[in-house]
Symmetry: C2
Subunit: 337 residues, 2 copies
């Protein structure tokens, strides 16, 4: 099994990527990595040669500032476009990038292509949660600004299969992010999605969840339109960051006694960090395209990239995409377009 | 100036309401309070008679579980409906409740009525923020599940006037909650709202803000559709609650050394609490109806209710509603319905 890696995407590319891939090569003898990027830079970080690590030289890089669709059309020799083309041609089985989410989305849709029955792919992170499994998947968190009822039903199915195959949950509980818990809550879109999910026998639908319980509900997977999902996820991330920063400031600026206390209490914050570190849970998956496509955070470190590679390995060995294709033939209606 | 008070709404009604009103009577000799509710219960908490405090007996109470529109139609002798009717008839100048938000919204629209030029009223809390003024207003946070471009433009105007009159900001900065900062971000709704806000000369529009910066942007007022605003606000509140609970747990369950540290560091958390306590900033205002309508949290304490009464006092003394009516004659187009 071969993973096409966009070696030039992300804040510390290609260094952290080369380091993580060299670790993964030891750990996963069944995996081969094709690194697309500047060979001089890539080789400068390589510590040894390996038959599991190939380099394909590319000359261009897509930046976060580039307009995604334009970039994948004009930067034909970029590390991302070349990596996506390798997957399209069957030369690689999965696509992995730390670069621009928009460009990865565009490359996945326009080069690799959607699975039949999926109108729009969805972006899905695995979040740390206060729940039985300690995790929750949320989709779509921003691949789509406009959503239709059929899309959300398809995403519920994609989320179900992901939770079954990757998280090994036999009956993953699916909830709908809405503005209230009652069945008739929400705008027309969410009211219709509620009805569709209730009637889809493939989906173990447990009802609505509000965003104040995004990380502490009974749901294993939360389905949301891409605009609201993006807002809820960013609000959660932003608030966590803001609050932890404010706590740090308060601990440093309330006298020596407080400072000593903070020093003594430090292990508690380490426990907390290990519990809520999203980088331990792999990358965000772009579900609905014809191959596993995974986006790791631009600032991801070696450990975080390794956990993402593990996630890709599981997606490949379980043949998750095949299971999606199979389920789609039976359990969802296609959307209007 | 007379405030109609739904004395039966909220978790600790009418006790905390009577206590807060008795305090306010001392502080605001210009205000009179009409308490609608069970006279026996209200009187049992009264410590003394005051010419500024009237009681109007009512026999029914609208509960959080009641369907809002149905409730205001069927419970004609409820404390909320009677209080709203007093405002409608001009017997009182403002409406204040700690009860069901949905019922207050329904009573405000169907009994008090919308201001001409406002298609849909919006719910707007004042949130603690890491900004120059330490505050941010966000609207709509859930009065409307469906939103149209014209609504958001009207809310931007309402937010501007509120920030000018109540927060005394001469040129309040208005931002649009969106899924990216660039001008062309968002779905069709948000793209059109961006254009409208850019061209409205009354509004000091500073562009898009993402929800990870809801509480630490340059904006004084953030405009959002009611569905997304509801999700973002609840996500922020839920994450703060979850994180603080997790920190507390971690401080208690990591041994004696950490516990001692937590004890020493306690003043830091008190500082933090006073900085981010939303109850210090008054209640959520329902903007766009013909009188000041304010909703305090159901669990609000006496101090929090007093800060809400101060807010109502300022809204009345500055004649904010008149200023809204005036501005609407000049600066917004009406929506399609």
């Amino acid at each position: 099994m071969k993973i096409a890696v966009d070696a030039m995407g992300g804040d510390h590319a290609p260094q952290v990527i080369v380091q993580a891939v060299e670790q993964a090569v030891q750990q996963y003898p069944n995996l081969t990595f094709v690194l697309f990027g500047d060979p001089v830079q890539i080789k400068s970080y390589q510590t040894h040669d390996s038959a599991q690590l190939e380099i394909v030289p590319t000359t261009e890089v897509i930046e976060n500032e580039d307009e995604p669709v334009k970039a994948i059309r004009s930067k034909k020799d970029s590390s991302l476009v070349r990596a996506a083309q390798a997957v399209k041609k069957g030369e690689a089985d999965a696509l992995f990038s730390l670069g621009s989410t928009g460009a990865l989305l565009a490359a996945s849709i326009f080069i690799i292509g959607r699975i039949k029955g999926i109108d729009r792919p969805a972006l899905m992170p695995t979040m740390p949660a206060v729940s039985a499994t300690g995790l929750v998947n949320v989709l779509d968190v921003g691949a789509n600004a406009e959503s239709k009822p059929a899309y959300l039903e398809q995403w519920a199915l994609l989320g179900t299969i992901y939770a079954q195959t990757i998280r090994k949950l036999s009956h993953p509980k699916i909830a709908l992010l809405n503005n209230g818990t009652e069945f008739d809550k929400g705008d027309r879109l969410h009211q219709e999605v509620y009805q569709r999910l209730s009637h889809n026998t493939f989906i173990n639908f447990i009802g609505n969840v509000e965003s104040n319980h995004l990380l502490d509900s009974d749901a294993d997977v939360i389905v949301t339109d891409g605009f609201t999902g993006n807002a809820a996820l960013k609000a959660v991330e932003g608030m966590a960051k803001l609050l932890l920063h404010q706590i740090k400031e308060a601990l440093l600026n309330n006298g020596t006694r407080v400072k000593v206390g903070a020093l003594l209490a430090k292990p508690a914050f380490a426990t907390l960090k290990s519990k809520f570190d999203p980088s331990l849970n792999g990358g965000a998956v772009l579900l609905g395209v014809k191959a596993p496509v995974i986006k790791a955070h631009g600032a991801a470190d070696v450990a975080s990239i390794c956990s993402t590679i593990e996630q890709i390995d599981i997606m490949l060995t379980t043949k998750m995409i095949d299971q999606v294709v199979l389920a789609l033939q039976h359990h969802v209606d296609e959307g209007e377009d």
